[in-house]
Amino acid sequence: MNTREKDIENLKDYKYGFSTDIENIRAPKGLNEDVIKFISNIKKEPKWMLDFRLKSFKRLQNLKEPDWQKPKYPKIDYQDLYYYSAPKSMSDKPKSLDELDPKLLETYKKLGIPLQEQARLNGIAIDAVFDSVSVATTFKDELTKQGIIFCSMSEAIQKHPDLVKKYLGTVIPTTDHFFATLNSAVFTDGSFVYIPEGVRCPMELSTYFRINASQTGQFERTLIIADKGSYVSYLEGCTAPMRDENQLHAANVELIALDDAEIKYSTVQNWYPGDENGKGGIYNFVTKRGLCKGRNSKISWTQVETGSAITWKYPSCILKGDNSIGEFYSIAITNNHQKADTGTKMIHLGKNTKSKIISKGISAGFSDMTYRGLVDINPKAKNSSNYTQCDSLLMGNKCGAHTVPYIKNKNFNSNIAHEATTSKISEEQLHYCQQRGLNSEEAVGLIVNGFCKEVLQQLPMEFAVEAQKLVGISLEGSVG
């Protein structure tokens, strides 16, 4: 094996696939009221929070798991899962990073997410979520000075109950679909962000999600509120150990932008995708929804989805405020036996609302990719517009790409434009690049990054380079 082959071999391994041997506290297996009470109790939640959970759980009994999506999966036994798992060392919540279990610090270090003071990433505040709990949040003091709240959801429930009560469930109500409602019942932790009026958040806020324990679902809940005239850019990253079993990740993310506020939400999703034969991997069934509540508000979703066995999500914008803007930029990559059914929903309610959808899907190996998107311009949303561009790139001839747009224009003053292309990386293109000195992996990286450029440009600079590499790595071994 020459060095190049070795490099490729190394890259092929999912480098985040290790697991941390750490003592856990778990809720008893299964889904029932007692487990929900256990979760609420261990988090010392107020009664209103427990009621919110129980109400959701009650409603869940009458809901059926949806099955209209393209990627099918074996039936999930919800009674055979753990709904809460936390490192034991977190039960007496450490007051500072110095008290944090060294094993946890080590885990994040290995993931390239330094939490310690001296090694922190410049200009990025991080909330680290390990299985069911937030283990650390960096740069808290600096943010507090500006009145910015950035903490774990559990902490927000304790310390900022009024804000949580006012906004939680207003974008994704307890009366929503199956997975969202499941999350409302059993969510464990996640991030909470509040940007006060007129404040421009001076750094990127970031949450790093890590699934560690086996047979455990991760159900985090994130709530971001941008008050009038404020701005925040938020990024989430995710990884998980390599396991033979499929693990469920059903998060809810709610964004609320008031008058003249802007939220930019970026995701780099790299959950364990399963092995080459499609064994194992994360089921990433996530509900993400943003409400442009105020006038002139803006919400922009950017996602780079490279991991998970199945990705099933539609980060959406409800454009309620007049002149509000919703954007969705997406790169979804499936390789080997991965499957994705992803896209967005743009619901235009206010006047002069604009939305833009740029979706780039890349499928390789035996994988299957569906773009599904709804543009719904309501009767009162006069003078609104949408532009959708949806491009698919195929590698090889055993993968699939599908585009399913749903377009509803209910007034005469609005317009919708939809463009879609499907192309293939040809042997000739690869040969051309190789003749110019690039090896096949570099050639694919170059072509694919060119294909995704419009979306990569949307990512915060610190992450654009990472994402670019990730795009290349995700497609390792898909040629030749």
């Binding site: 040969h431 051309y432 190789q434 003749q435 110019r436 690039l438 570099e442 060119g450 294909f451």
Partner: protein, 244 residues
């Protein structure tokens, strides 16, 4: 520099090259002329490393077995192919492609990679020499380029990468006289005692601008006659059909 001994190439049981032999020494310019389907493009494909052919025989490049080298390794060692149909790569900026290519090759040769400033200086210089529209350098690679511009872009890449052996696969087809002159100037500038060229063409006219040392006539996968530049003129007069 390049030694081809009894090269046979088949594609799906169809024999294309038959006991093809050719020897190119450093500094020599060889022209291969032949009608459609004579095996000209197959030859350039095989030398560049394109897959899909059944091959027997021997090809040595600087005394190394070419068939043991990957396509990109051949490029690193100094083989350049100006494609008959240069490929379009949407989304990839021409400058970025050129820089990535140049640095991949420099790296493989153990040379220092060029930074953005050094690269831009070099590419602008070369573009000027070749009368290549600088604005095109910021466009997607070959997307929306005319046939002539694509061919000029190949020559630009050739002059950037300074190869030892350049293979021009019908680079002249579809070019007007002005573009033909630019392409020829590009080749003549690079021509010296160390660099060799293999020019594949249908027509004699390119050879008015690039004087070959040797001309070979390829018919049915075999060189049927070799000679000096006068052979091209004779061929032009008689046509391929009556040449035998």
């Amino acid at each position: 520099m390049l030694k081809i001994n009894n090269l046979n190439a088949n594609i799906e049981d169809k024999s294309i090259l038959k006991d093809f032999s050719l020897n190119i020494n450093p500094g020599e310019v060889h022209a291969i002329m032949g009608p459609n389907g004579s095996g000209k493009s197959t030859l350039s494909n095989i030398l560049s490393g394109k897959k899909g052919y059944e091959i027997s025989g021997e090809v040595l490049f600087e005394n190394k077995n070419l068939f043991e080298l990957e396509t990109e390794e051949r490029a690193h060692k100094g083989i350049f192919l100006a494609f008959q149909y240069p490929l379009e790569i949407p989304g990839v900026n021409t400058n970025i492609f050129l820089k990535t290519s140049l640095n991949a090759i420099r790296k493989a040769r153990g040379e220092k990679e060029l930074d953005a400033i050094e690269f831009l200086k070099l590419v602008k210089e070369k573009a000027k020499e070749l009368k290549f529209d600088e604005e095109k350098l910021n466009r997607q690679l070959n997307v929306g380029f005319s046939g002539g511009e694509k061919k000029k872009n190949e020559i630009l890449q050739m002059s950037m990468l300074s190869p030892k052996l350049s293979i021009l696969d019908e680079t002249d087809s579809g070019l007007d006289i002005d573009a033909l002159k630019v392409v020829s100037d590009g080749v003549n500038t690079l021509r010296n005692k160390d660099n060799s060229f293999l020019i594949i063409t249908h027509y004699q006219r390119l050879l008015d601008y690039i004087k070959p040392d040797f001309v070979h006539v390829l018919m049915n996968g075999k060189i049927i006659k070799s000679g000096g530049p006068e052979l091209a003129l004779e061929l032009e007069k008689k046509g391929y059909e009556n040449f035998n």
